[in-house]
């Protein structure tokens, strides 16, 4: 249930911050600065419509469609927008491709910039001081905590999102997936693999 639709007046169970936010919304609404139904729609958009499933489609298409892959490398904004994934915090996109030589990792040390249009809202760890402080100075240690040991033969490239450019990691396509179609491949793509804190698990060969 959404906060503004609560009808009871018993606020005794509310925390201080819940009470403050409720008072704020009520005030802003009374003054005509916001329409609570619009706030509902915004929340619902990020709960239901925009999430990592968008990015997974981009990745699966990059794996299966050579022309799309080339377009994504050349102009990720246009290539991603062409799938309908426009929207805020995705206005300017760059796709970075993991390879046998390079592993890419995305962070925003100054705030929490994140490609909302393709990944939805960022997880708490992405927004929190441990990740923001450490991803740039010791990415290998951070990745190890995510269970990823990157061999020293592989270069790590960290992208600190300091401007309005948003980065999407295109993970490597796992082996034994030649028979899978785009939508099946998209199911394999995890959010963390598109941030760079995971790779995609190998698929067991078909027996």
């Amino acid at each position: 249930m959404l906060m503004h639709s609560h009808d009871d007046d018993d606020h005794s169970h509310m925390t201080d911050i819940e009470a403050r936010v409720r008072a704020l919304e009520s005030l802003l609404s009374e003054k005509g600065y916001i329409d609570s139904a619009a706030v509902d729609n915004i929340v619902q958009t990020y709960e239901k419509k925009i999430g990592p499933q968008n990015g997974a489609q981009v990745v699966a298409k990059a794996w299966t469609d050579e022309a799309y892959n080339a377009w994504l490398r050349e102009d990720a904004t246009a290539a991603i927008h062409s799938l309908g994934y426009t929207s805020r915090q995705g206005e300017h996109m760059v796709a970075v491709f993991n390879s046998t030589d390079t592993h890419h990792l995305i962070v925003c040390t100054l705030c929490s910039c994140y490609p909302w249009s393709v990944l939805g809202l960022p997880p708490t760890w992405y927004k929190s001081p441990p990740y923001r402080s450490r991803a740039v100075i010791e990415p290998r240690a951070v990745l190890a905590e995510f269970g990823l040991e990157i061999p020293t033969s592989k270069k790590i490239e960290v992208h600190d999102s300091t401007a309005e450019i948003r980065y999407l990691v295109i993970p490597e396509r796992p082996k034994n997936t030649d028979s899978l179609g785009e939508s099946e491949l998209a199911q394999l793509v995890t959010r963390n693999s598109m941030i760079g804190t995971a790779v995609i698990d190998p698929v067991e060969p078909a027996s």
Binding site: L24, L27, L110, P123, W125, S133, V142
Partner: protein
């Protein structure tokens, strides 16, 4: 500003802890703060850089121990007060005591989808040629403005290489102070990990930052 938000390279925060099957919001108030903040953007009283500056102006010790949406609530409340849209008495009571100030518009539910999908592109027309070219070596400036900037402390006065030329974008150092967009060239600059963090770092690793022309000088 050298505030609590400029976290790159700090130590002592501990391990990165991932919550399994994390929801978008841990309480309803978090969802409302996200929605309110976005909806208030339509009022046209401030821009995204002023929003970021409002958040990073939080006292550093408070910033570092506050949750993301607590920081958002702090930022948006201060912006509302600064622009005379609400006062402390109203915030405490949740009831208006002063008439509303004029705003550009109120975001209506039927316009949410269009507004979110349109976003707010930051690129602008190129009025003059780029000052730097791909592959060029540059050195970042060593300024410490008290106002908004997007050149983190860890990357000041460091040598890097232009790895992408993005075009002309709104300059947050100006926009964040409400002094206009002052669009200028934006580049991706690549720094060796050892340049930023010392010789013991793996020489093959690098960090890229997206930096505007005023942050850079040719390293000749």
């Amino acid at each position: 500003m050298n505030g609590g938000a400029d976290l790159g390279g700090m130590m002592g925060f501990g391990a990165v802890v991932e919550e399994e099957n994390e929801p978008n919001f841990h309480a309803q108030w978090e969802a409302r703060v996200l929605g309110l903040t976005i909806a208030l953007g339509a009022c046209g009283k401030w821009n995204i850089d002023q929003s970021r500056f409002a958040r990073e102006s939080m006292q550093p010790a408070d910033y570092m121990k506050s949750s993301y949406y607590e920081i958002w609530l702090y930022g948006v409340t201060n912006l509302l007060k600064e622009h005379g849209m609400v006062n402390d008495e109203e915030l405490a009571s949740g009831t208006a005591s002063l008439p509303p100030v004029s705003i550009k518009k109120t975001l209506r539910p039927e316009d949410v989808n269009t507004t979110l999908m349109a976003g707010g592109p930051a690129n602008r027309e190129e009025q003059y040629p780029a000052g730097f070219s791909l592959g060029q070596q540059v050195r970042t400036i060593n300024n410490h403005p008290k106002s908004h900037t997007r050149l983190p402390r860890y990357a000041r006065d460091k040598i890097g290489v232009i790895s992408k030329v993005y075009g002309v974008h709104v300059f947050p150092d100006s926009s964040g102070q409400g002094l206009g967009e002052a669009p200028t060239w934006l580049y991706q600059v690549s720094f060796m990990a050892s340049t930023l963090w010392g010789d013991e770092k793996p020489t093959q690793d690098s960090v890229t930052l997206d930096l505007w022309q005023p942050y850079l000088k040719a390293n000749t």
